[in-house]
């Protein structure tokens, strides 16, 4: 999994945005359909996209509905079943039943050592990952759009300043920074006698990830705005005396939705893996908050004896990331028919 700031790799084709304002005629559209409806129609025809979208939707439902499911299923991700009930774990702390302890009762087996239920851990883990990455993507996108559009539209000294700040942010060794910085923040915010709440820890993660993530989005949008700025429709708006905010919101932004949506949809899986990587390295979420990165870490440790435990989070994450990336691609194809295959 790569730790590099995910938004740095913007979709190159996004620059091929349909340049004309909303009213411009797209190549042969049926009359009476808005571009969004058109995009939706194109998306529906893309089978891979629909499949990926359904998988992603399933992950969202599973993650957000995890507590409800856990209730129906009768297990929770915190109870150490294996330690409380004899017959589940052997002397070494490994599941006794084959395939990681998969049984009618524990559908995906039990965790070696503590003996917690793997399925609920996985579902609650999706929730942790998704909530964190969605929060990061929201913050990063808003910040990136604001800085990028401002820099690109105003140009001159503002653009120069913003550009240098973005350069610094992009060249910063962010992974090392996370590892070194997170424990410092943690100890600053909690006294030795108290425990840090998962919410606070999650917020720190979100903040640290956002602090670096916005730069990529900003750079991409700045480039977009620079090319749009000199287009006729913007010139015309300016000549007719539109105020800057009107130009930004009514002329520029509608043409920026495509790159924004595409980067955001590709950033979500990237941040899921980044968050998992941070937890894997010991600076992300800590016990007892369920987390995919830590599950993978444990999996790498026990794989010699209990490889199932490594497969479960590994395959889940693979499916999730592939599905989300395919969805991102499909969204781009749908919004930007020029790249249609």
């Amino acid at each position: 999994m790569s730790l590099s700031s995910p938004t740095a790799e913007a979709p190159s084709s996004a620059s091929a945005t349909d340049g004309s304002p909303a009213a411009a005629p797209a190549p042969g559209p049926p009359a009476g359909l808005t571009p969004m409806r058109l995009a939706w129609r194109r998306f529906r025809r893309d089978k891979a996209g629909v499949a990926a979208g359904s998988v992603v939707l399933l992950f969202f439902v599973a993650g957000l509905g995890a507590p409800l499911f856990a209730k129906l299923y009768g297990k929770d991700p915190y109870t150490t079943y294996g330690q409380n009930e004899p017959g589940l774990l052997n002397d070494y702390g490994y599941p006794i039943a084959p395939n990681g302890g998969i049984s009618g009762e524990y559908w995906l087996g039990i965790e070696p050592g503590l003996g917690r239920d793997v399925l609920t851990q996985l579902l609650y883990g999706i929730r942790t990952s998704l909530l964190i990455s969605l929060a990061v993507v929201a913050i990063v996108t808003v910040l990136g759009v604001v800085v990028g559009v401002t820099a690109g539209y105003l140009g001159g000294r503002t653009d120069y300043l913003a550009g240098r700040v973005i350069d610094v942010m992009l060249s910063f060794p962010s992974t090392l920074f996370f590892i070194a910085f997170t424990p410092v923040v943690t100890s600053l915010l909690t006294s030795p006698g108290e425990e840090m709440s998962p919410l606070l820890r999650g917020s720190i993660l979100v903040m640290v990830l956002s602090a670096f993530g916005w730069a990529g989005v900003a750079r991409l949008l700045r480039g977009q705005v620079l090319s749009l700025r000199s287009r006729e429709f913007v010139e015309a708006a300016r000549a007719s005396g539109s105020p800057p905010h009107r130009i930004i919101f009514h002329e520029l932004l509608p043409n920026l939705w495509t790159p924004i949506l595409v980067t955001a949809s590709l950033a979500v899986p990237a941040y899921v893996t980044t968050e998992a990587a941070l937890s894997y390295l010991g600076v992300g979420m800590v016990e007892p908050t369920p987390d995919w990165g830590r599950m993978l870490l444990k999996g790498a440790e026990v794989y010699q004896t209990d490889i199932t435990y490594m497969f479960v989070p590994g395959i889940s994450m693979l499916i999730f990331v592939v599905a989300f990336n395919l969805l991102g691609d499909s969204i781009r194809d749908a919004l930007d028919p020029k790249t249609d295959r």
Partner: protein, 586 residues
């Protein structure tokens, strides 16, 4: 010697081992877990396993091992190079182990049928004291030689101990220095080493064969203390001061023939070592080769694979970790290639006695503590045997008792009764590693069930000992390990629980201070009969736990190590590492 929390940084392989085998096969039958034994059953811990030998035990040569043969090259794989090789500076188990090949002491330990026997090494016996332990006299054996063929003289032992007083010579144990001067850790105020030309008159070498130590107070344990490497002989003209640490002048059966620091080392036979003078060392292989730099898991995987040279490989301290313990112990082929024994290390969960001042609360913690669950996370019985006492079965006089009488899983109901409705808050501190975070979960669950409010507090792994070693630390419960320098209560209880030794970075992590107990320790330290002293240490151990419950005894550590199929005679020795002294190449 303290023990670092076993941190094993698992190297992340492919996230998805798609090409790997199918799913895992599970951990076996249910009865494996039901009965505590199973295939993971540890070797039985022997009580009264320590004896002081006499002159006949001390006479060489060491009894020949049937089938063993001389010759060949044995390979030792270690994670890191030896930090020290100067006998006055070693204190870590694998360094002490390699020095068994390179140096000899006044006394040493011999394993006879599972019993640890203290015998004379350079000395003819374990020493004698005419005045109840204040003066100790050792007579050297005949025909003792260094690597260059010169004779080992009593004056060299005197000089060897003297140089351990020098301020440059740091890192080694300080028992002998403290007992000679009677000044505790300030022994350098009395004598500060031979490098400015002074000699120390509390150590006498009246002739070539006799060395006499005049202690400040009677110490029955002195023969044990001189089994540590401080008593190794060093000829004055061969003392290279700090460079001695890189290439010591050997009095043992091997000498260093080449050394490439951090990469490797080769020991070749010291032709002048006379097996007839040595009751312990066999020295079967012609050569010992050391390789440094592989990670623990790599070392174990190399020994399991046993390709080429690795067929004759062993390791002094790399234990089989929890990630492969099951595989190793349940594969007969591999299990046959393991050395497995208890070590002098015992582990505890210390209660901060300065913060948790209420006895009932401490007793409730002891009653509720989930020892078995915690050990299961650390690897189960392969990790060690659950304990209820302060001193371990490897110690002279050890007696089993249980101050609370709860099952090893902890008894929340009993703890609740002891607490009688109170709900104290306990801050549980642990190193921030994946394994310890899981232990945090288990401890949290068990103590919460018993009515405690638990705050789980991860501490940076690197500064863990510094943090819990601060006398003003803000934690209530934390893990620590302790290994006895020799099998006697004096090497455990005073170090761990003497209130006068409370200091920052000290070893009394529980900050336990009971004047009566400290006085009792002083009294037992002066008992001239070590066997009687052993009984009294055991009684004091029980008294401390019953009356004050200052710590939660956790496990007596077990050492399980692998060795290659080309070696024989590999055993876990008294120090808790795998010993080279009986090893032979097949």
């Amino acid at each position: 010697m303290t023990l670092r929390p076993g941190q094993r940084l698992a190297v992340m392989g492919a996230v998805l081992a798609i090409g790997a085998t199918a799913c895992s096969s599970g951990g076996g039958s249910t009865d494996n877990a039901a009965k505590p034994g199973g295939s993971a059953a540890p070797p039985a811990a022997k009580t009264a396993a320590v004896r002081i030998g006499d002159a006949s035990d001390s006479t060489g040569p060491a009894a020949a091992i049937p089938e063993a043969k001389t010759g060949g090259t044995a390979l030792v794989l270690e994670r890191a190079d030896f930090n020290h090789l100067d006998p006055a500076r070693v204190y870590v188990s694998h360094e002490q182990t390699v020095l068994l090949l390179l140096s000899r002491q006044l006394t040493t330990f011999k394993q006879v049928d599972g019993q640890t026997v203290l015998v004379g090494d350079l000395a003819k016996d374990t020493g004698s004291s005419p005045d109840g332990g204040k003066t100790w006299k050792f007579t050297l054996k005949d025909n003792l030689k260094y690597e260059d063929g010169s004779a080992i003289k009593a004056a060299d032992i005197k000089y060897g101990v003297e140089r351990s007083f020098a301020k440059e010579i740091t890192g080694g144990p300080t028992w002998i220095q403290e007992w000679l001067t009677g000044k505790g850790a300030d022994f350098r105020t009395v004598y500060d080493g031979p490098y400015n030309g002074k000699s120390y008159d509390a150590i006498e070498a009246p002739d070539e064969k006799t060395v006499v130590f005049k202690l400040a107070e009677p110490r029955a344990d002195f023969p044990f203390a001189v089994a540590m490497h401080t008593s190794s002989p060093v000829p004055r003209e061969k003392d290279t001061k700090l460079d001695f640490d890189k290439k010591p002048f050997s009095s043992g059966p091997y000498k260093i023939s080449s050394r490439d620091i951090d990469k490797g080392m080769v020991l070749s036979r010291n032709e002048h070592w006379n097996p007839a003078t040595d009751a312990v060392r066999h020295a079967y292989p012609d050569q010992w080769k050391f390789e440094f730099g592989a990670q623990n898991q790599q070392i174990n995987e190399r020994i399991i694979a046993a390709n080429g040279e690795d067929k004759n490989a062993m390791t002094f301290r790399t234990a089989v970790g929890r990630e492969s313990a099951q595989k190793v112990l349940e594969t007969p082929d591999l299990k046959a290639r393991t050395a497995d024994a208890f070590t002098p290390f015992a582990e505890y969960f210390d209660i901060n006695n300065r913060r948790v001042t209420d006895l009932k609360t401490r007793q409730a913690i002891v009653a509720a503590f989930p020892k078995q669950q915690v050990r299961q996370i650390l690897g189960g019985p392969a990790y060690g045997e659950l304990s209820t006492t302060l001193i371990s079965p490897t110690v002279l006089g050890y007696e089993k008792y249980d101050s609370v009488g709860v099952p090893p899983t902890g008894d929340p109901e009993k703890a609740k009764q002891i607490l009688a409705g109170a709900t104290p808050t306990i801050v549980f501190a642990f190193p921030q590693t994946p394994v310890w975070e899981q232990i945090g979960v288990a401890v949290n669950e068990a103590l919460t069930k018993a009515g405690f409010k638990v705050v789980a507090k991860p501490i940076n792994d690197k500064s863990y000992y510094t943090e819990i070693g601060r006398t003003a630390n803000e934690y209530d419960l934390y893990w620590s390990g302790w290994g006895a320098d020799w099998p006697s209560g004096i090497a455990v209880l005073p170090a761990k629980l003497d209130g006068r030794k409370i200091q920052d970075d000290g070893t009394n992590y529980a900050l336990y201070d009971n004047k009566a107990v400290s006085a009792e320790m002083d009294k037992i330290a002066l008992v001239s009969d070590v066997v009687e002293a052993g009984k009294q240490w055991a009684a004091l151990d029980k008294k401390i736990m019953t009356e004050d419950s200052p710590v939660v005894p956790f496990v007596y550590r077990r050492q399980l190590t692998l060795y290659g199929p080309g070696l024989g005679g590999v055993k876990v020795g008294f120090i808790g590492s795998t010993y080279p002294t009986d090893v032979w190449v097949k």
